[in-house]
């Protein structure tokens, strides 16, 4: 961290996310990440690309404290994520909005309740929940589906609910792990537009994807991974593998 700060002395703010020489080796000796170092600045839109098994998902698991690195450290602001106690992890996760390829909505809760749950977990009041949930659903254009259950929604709609859930607590960063993997081109375009809009409003975004079209249309920073290593890090990158 100190080394990073000295190398980047022009920056006065801490990076949002900082991977410091991180390696992840599983019990069967398979290497998921190897000596990965990079930083994500506040308000950045960073895409992480790579083949399956390149280490993208491991990277995200480390940020969410779902897994621990074998070597190195991962920082969220000034917090070393993996020095947190189990009871402190929910507080960290409330600052991160997550969107998954398989949506991961709560099947027994309707759209309203799915989003409300995330707010309840963050300790928001009933009044805030009642006013914010319809508002955030309007933002993702799902105002009419507020009382539907996930099984009654299309893939694109489910992903929009997931995005609404991710942004409702106004997190510092949104992590979208292959959010368009299960969607058709129209829905993919819409989801990417929503993510861009969220970024324009000031939220940092980390996006992992396989989709060349998405990356090329974004024209933002691209980190390319191969066999657990960062092989390219371009400011205005394109999908090159």
């Amino acid at each position: 961290m100190l080394q990073y700060l000295s190398n980047h002395s022009v920056h006065f703010t801490l990076p949002m996310i900082y991977f410091d020489k991180v390696s992840k080796i599983y019990a069967d000796q398979s290497v998921a990440l190897q000596d990965v170092t990079f930083a994500v600045e506040p308000k950045e839109f960073v895409s992480i690309v790579g083949h399956s098994g390149a280490g993208k998902t491991t990277l995200i698991k480390l940020i969410l404290a779902e897994d621990k690195p074998s070597e190195g450290r991962v920082f969220f602001g000034s917090t070393d994520i993996h020095s947190l106690r189990l009871s402190e992890i929910p507080e960290l996760r409330r600052k991160i909005g997550v969107v998954f390829q398989d949506f991961r909505l709560l099947p027994d809760k309707n759209v309203y309740e799915n989003i409300a749950f995330s707010m309840e977990a963050a300790g928001r009041t009933d009044e805030e929940i009642e006013s914010d949930v319809p508002h955030v659903l309007e933002l993702v254009d799902l105002g009419k589906k507020i009382w539907n259950f996930p099984k009654e929604l299309s893939g694109g709609e489910k992903q929009r609910v997931a995005i609404a859930r991710a942004i409702v607590n106004q997190p510092d960063i949104i992590i979208a792990d292959e959010p368009t993997g299960n969607l058709d081109p129209v829905n993919t375009y819409e989801i990417v537009q929503i993510l861009k809009k969220i970024n324009d409003l000031g939220t940092t975004i980390i996006l992992t994807t396989h989709n060349k079209g998405v990356i090329d249309s974004l024209g933002r920073r691209v980190i390319t991974m191969e066999n657990g290593r960062v092989v390219r890090d371009d400011k205005e990158g394109r999908y090159i593998i």
Binding site: V98, L105, L106, E120
Partner: protein
């Protein structure tokens, strides 16, 4: 915030319960069986206790005194015996009372009565009937009487004619053994059955929560605390317990009514239905609390496994 969270947890628990009707129904069914086993064991143990105490009450020893024994001496013996911690009751029967009892017992036996009238005076001595608190303690009481001969205050001779313990010793010992074995076996079977039923319930609830494994991981990832995730599951477990408890209590009404009628004679005049109605509050509390505690603890433990990420 604590009250808001508690309110949300309880509300969410009720929602989860009603929205997973099939899982709820099957869990309640298994739990009802568990609580029925516990209720049945309560009744069995009551029947066993009543039967054993009935058998115990039939066991006693008599101390017969010589015919010339003075009443104050006998009453002194009674007083000494009552002071012994293992003695439950000591009943004095005077020689006159013994004669009366003998006559009324043989009122249809003219030959015996006639033989009695030909004797001069009362041939029957006074006696003390001793009931111990436990059948195993008769040996000690008999030894006490043997060890410390009770002597007449007038001429210093022993006033005890005989103690019938030694004649009935083998029967009393056998009964004591049976009672102790029955009690021990009863406790072992009760504990084993309760453990097995609790394990079955725990596994059922674990399966019900296994279905929610993915949901729990999503809740973790959106930043819900362990307590906030676990709370609704514990509420659902408690609801399962409460409903199963009520079903069990209702089911046992007709069951005990029927069993009470058919088995009253078999169980030495103990009516199970009367036992149920007379001890309803106690049984209600045992079943309801067992149900809710088993349900909530099972849920608590089952969710723990999925909260580690």
């Amino acid at each position: 915030m604590f009250w808001v969270s508690t309110k949300r947890i309880i509300r969410s628990g009720f929602f989860n319960f009603s929205r997973n009707a099939f899982v709820s129904l099957s869990s309640i069914l298994v739990m009802t069986i568990t609580l029925s086993v516990i209720a049945a064991l309560i009744f069995l143990s009551a029947v066993l206790t009543a039967t054993l105490s009935e058998i115990r009450s039939k066991v006693d020893i008599n101390v017969y005194f010589v015919t010339g024994a003075q009443e104050p001496d006998i009453l002194a013996v009674q007083k000494n015996l009552r002071a012994l911690p293992e003695v439950d009751t000591v009943t004095y029967t005077s020689s006159d009372q013994a004669l009366e009892n003998f006559k009324s017992r043989h009122e249809n036996d003219q030959f015996t009565l006639q033989a009695l009238s030909e004797l001069e005076g009362n041939p029957l001595g006074a006696s003390l009937n001793i009931k111990a608190k436990d059948t195993s303690q008769y040996q000690g009481i008999a030894d006490y009487l043997q060890r410390k001969p009770i002597l007449s205050s007038q001429d210093g001779t022993s006033i005890i004619d005989k103690v019938n313990y030694y004649e009935n010793k083998s029967a009393i010992d056998k009964l004591t053994q049976i009672i102790h074995t029955a009690e021990k076996l009863g406790s072992i079977i009760t504990i084993a059955l309760i453990c097995v039923s609790i394990l079955i319930t725990f596994n059922t609830i674990r399966l019900a929560i296994f279905i929610s494994k993915e949901e729990i991981s999503v809740m973790r990832l959106v930043g819900a605390s362990a307590a906030y995730i676990r709370g609704p599951f514990v509420v659902v477990g408690t609801i399962y317990g409460a409903i199963s408890g009520l079903i069990t209590l209702v089911l046992f009404y007709p069951v005990t009514l029927w069993l009470g009628r058919t088995t009253a004679n078999f169980f030495l005049n103990m009516n199970i239905f009367d036992y149920y109605t007379q001890n309803f509050v106690q049984i209600f509390c045992i079943i309801m609390i067992s149900g809710m505690v088993i349900g909530s603890i099972s849920s608590y433990l089952a969710v723990r496994k999925y909260l580690k990420i």
